[in-house]
Symmetry: C2
Subunit: 109 residues, 2 copies
């Protein structure tokens, strides 16, 4: 991992990209989908239907991953995590509607 | 960008993640969706419904982005590109079904 999360006492935030496919053939599946989206909304911004960009520190990253893994049914659902580091501004590009996080500006929570 | 694409005469490949939302309310939209997926399949592997992981060099990355931008309707569709560099093996994590690209092994085309 090329990201340093801590520098002295400073907590370093990174871009964690979360993508998911949740099987919604059943009502239980639809419920899981809602729960996954709700948890992701607590930590980041939805940029596409099943894609969230989250600016998190290491502790938040670990916590969010644990929360999501408890929600999904790992026999039919899929969760992917992409760690884009703290210098993510030049690592994201967009074409089309809704730009999501402005990659030219640091995100301030 | 922290990725060096060329080192001497060696072409460096990187992981380019492509996510998309294509508005399929019309038959033209469904057609665009098929075309986007088909182009992505030429360069990488579908790991979720609207998520492709592509191992490409700089020239391929530029070409693919240009091809996709010609297909979509940028007033209603969304394409996002995430550049995860050449050392992507530790930057991808997965929970659930279908692991996609094996992130522990270099991808050989």
């Amino acid at each position: 991992m090329d990201t340093l999360f801590f520098c002295g006492n400073e907590v370093i935030r990174m871009l964690l990209l979360i993508t998911y496919d949740v099987n919604t053939e059943t009502s239980a599946g639809k419920n899981r989908l809602r729960k996954v989206a709700k948890q992701c909304e607590n930590y980041g911004r939805r940029v596409q239907n099943s894609v969230f960009e989250c600016i998190v520190d290491q502790a938040q990253s670990v916590k969010l991953k644990a929360l999501l893994s408890e929600i999904i049914d790992d026999t039919v659902d899929s969760l992917r995590f992409y760690y884009l580091g703290s210098k993510y501004q030049t690592k994201v590009d967009h074409i089309g509607c809704d730009k999501g996080i402005d990659v030219d500006q640091p995100l301030i929570f």
